[in-house]
């Protein structure tokens, strides 16, 4: 609970800074962005993140769960390893490569964000299944649960919190990476930040960067709450030591 208090304080501070800069109206020779510019960019930013995370989830969860099956164990290294390598390439490079490949526009930005957001979800989806006690599955089989029943009643509830954690991490990362989307023709808060960079005006950089950070923190908090909600009650209890 402690870290949430700190995050809430930070969130308030960041939103306060954003509102303050916006209220200035003018810094030096530049006008600050208006409230409606800000809202428009924030919404575009959120949409981009949302679409990218939904696509990354749709790809990673089934893939991770599948690769965790003993039958597909030869695929573990290429899939997880591949995603790992993807993560080591700087986000700027991934985004930059997209422009020549897919042209300028939202599509390039989203593809880049999906590629970059895959790994945390994929890794957690894989781990979530792998970390289920084999005895639990053996007992379920021994009692005559079918494969589908085991997946639905046993594996899914046990894996859900871990998968959700992966989605949360991926979302937070994507909010940050999406700042760069503007470079390949995407929308979002990056536009404001980048304007500040070109104008060499720190306060305008802050006007773009502060709400981005605020969005990352807010989404992180919301998804953490969802994660907790989705954790079955029996798993929230700390194991007693005997």
């Amino acid at each position: 609970m402690r870290h949430q208090v700190i995050l809430f304080a930070l969130l308030t501070l960041l939103l306060g800074a954003t509102l303050w800069v916006t209220s200035l109206g003018k810094v030096g020779i530049y006008s600050t962005f208006t409230y409606s510019d800000l809202l428009h960019s924030a919404w575009a930013h959120f949409k981009m993140v949302f679409i990218a995370v939904v696509i990354a989830t749709a790809i990673s969860v089934p893939l991770g769960v599948l690769v965790a099956r003993p039958v597909f164990s030869p695929l573990v290294l290429p899939v997880i390893g591949g995603a790992n390598i993807g993560q080591t390439i700087p986000s700027l490079a991934v985004i930059a490569v997209m422009a020549p490949l897919l042209g300028f526009g939202l599509q390039s930005a989203i593809v880049a964000l999906v590629i970059y957001g895959l790994l945390p979800i994929l890794r957690n989806a894989y781990t979530s299944i792998k970390s289920i006690d084999p005895a639990v599955i053996e007992a379920a089989q021994g009692m005559g649960l079918t494969g589908i029943q085991i997946a639905r009643r046993i594996e899914l509830p046990l894996a859900r919190p871990v998968i959700m954690a992966g989605i949360r991490v991926s979302t937070v990362i994507t909010v940050g990476t999406a700042e760069l989307a503007v470079l390949v023709g995407g929308e979002g808060l990056g536009k404001i930040t980048l304007t500040g960079v070109f104008a060499r005006e720190p306060l305008i950089i802050l006007q773009g960067a502060a709400p981005t950070a605020a969005m990352a923190i807010a989404l992180g908090l919301v998804l953490e709450l969802a994660e907790r909600r989705m954790t079955p009650r029996g798993l929230r209890i700390e194991p007693e030591s005997f």
């Binding site: 005895a135 639990v136 053996e138 021994g142 009692m143 005559g144 649960l145 029996g234 007693e240």
Partner: protein, 371 residues
């Protein structure tokens, strides 16, 4: 009830895990699959509910070939309990036990009733435990719930893979004893896998001793101990088979039934005469309602007076189902060479002496050697 015929398991890499194993377990019997690790005992067990597919041979359950039965249907009618228990951590104790009843389509009320019954049977207060989660239980409690869950759908057959393995020795003994009592009530046909010779002797009606995938000897525990088929069996049961045999014989089988006794209000002289008449130096003193009270010894019974004045009150007594090793340990700790055997209401059923135990063991070992 369960019949294995030439059951064989060969893995794709050519390893023969089980080779032509045949034996039959009668209805209501507890059969122990015993052997060193890697001998194929667990594999053999798992072929019964088809968690492992057999390569050759057949297994009949209640007359029908298990390879022709629907896999899930087969498993729902065979209870399954394993060493690591594998309780579903996101389900309550009640929901865990209700798994198979739910799959079988029982009503919610029937499921709950069954869960309560089974918790009761395993000596866990239903209202206290039914809503708990596995993480809130101790190791021993989890094992109990595991057994309760295996019994959930009231299967006629139970497969248990080291069900008392992962717990401390004291809890294990307790659970074994309780399970034996429960088995007397429920009379399931059970196959239990263990590598623990003591557990095998204690629990098994029959023991199937395996080695390197083959069945070496299939016999009641006493035969395995005293009539080992070959040097492997003799080596496995160990040189101290006389001592192990103490676990096989129950006090009621060797006790002196309706021994002479004394009443507290009797004159000591009468008691002394009775001791002389039977050639013993101690009499069990019992209350008018038959409850065991203590001992009166000949050396104290010289003077006049009543028996109650010379009675050494004792609460040390064995149940009639206790095995001789327990009786012996009671004697050793109480420093007495005679032990009262009582029923559950503490009424005297008989007495066991140290000589009786010695005699019994000597006969057993010699009987085995002469074969």
């Amino acid at each position: 009830m369960i019949r294995l015929e030439n059951v064989t398991k060969v893995y794709p890499d050519g390893t023969v895990a089980v080779r032509r194993v045949s034996f039959e377990v009668l209805k209501g019997e507890l059969c122990v699959l015993l052997g060193p690790s890697g001998c194929g005992k667990t594999t053999t067990m798992k072929m019964i509910n088809r968690l492992i597919a057999m390569t050759d041979g057949s297994i009949y359950i209640d007359g029908s070939d298990n390879s022709t039965m629907d896999e899930t249907e087969l498993r729902r009618n065979i209870g399954y309990a394993i060493q690591d228990v594998g309780l579903f951590p996101h389900m309550t104790v009640g929901e865990n036990i209700e798994t198979v009843p739910a799959l079988k389509g029982w009503t919610k009320a029937e499921q709950r009733k069954r869960a309560e019954e089974l918790l009761e049977l395993l000596r866990m207060r239903p209202h206290e435990y039914i809503e708990k989660y596995p993480r809130e239980l101790s190791g021993g409690e989890r094992q109990r719930v595991g057994v309760a869950r295996a019994l959930g759908g009231d299967p006629p057959v139970l497969l248990m893979d080291e069900p008392f393995g992962a717990i401390d020795p004291i809890t294990r003994l307790e659970l074994q004893n309780e399970f034996l009592k429960i088995q007397q009530e429920i009379k399931k046909t059970i196959i239990l896998v263990t590598h623990d010779i003591y557990e095998a002797i204690k629990m098994g009606d029959k023991i199937a001793l395996m080695k390197e995938g083959q069945l070496v000897q299939y016999a009641p525990p006493a035969d395995l101990l005293f009539r080992p088929k070959d040097s492997f069996v003799a080596g496995f049961v160990g040189a101290d088979r006389g001592l192990k045999g103490l676990q096989l014989i129950r006090t009621r089988e060797v006790m002196w039934k309706s021994p002479p006794t004394a009443h507290p209000d009797e004159k000591t002289e009468a008691a002394r005469k009775r001791m002389k008449q039977y050639g013993i130096d101690r009499l069990a003193v019992i209350e008018p309602d038959g409850k065991f009270r203590g001992w009166a010894s000949a050396s104290d019974a010289q003077g006049a007076g009543r028996v109650k004045e010379i009675t050494k009150i004792s609460s040390v007594a064995a149940g009639k189902n206790a095995v001789l090793s327990e009786a012996l340990s009671l004697m050793l700790t109480s420093g007495s060479d005679v032990l009262a055997v009582v029923d559950q209401h503490n009424r005297l059923e008989g007495v066991v002496t140290f000589e009786t135990i010695q005699e019994t063991m000597r006969e057993a070992v010699q009987g085995g050697a002469s074969q």
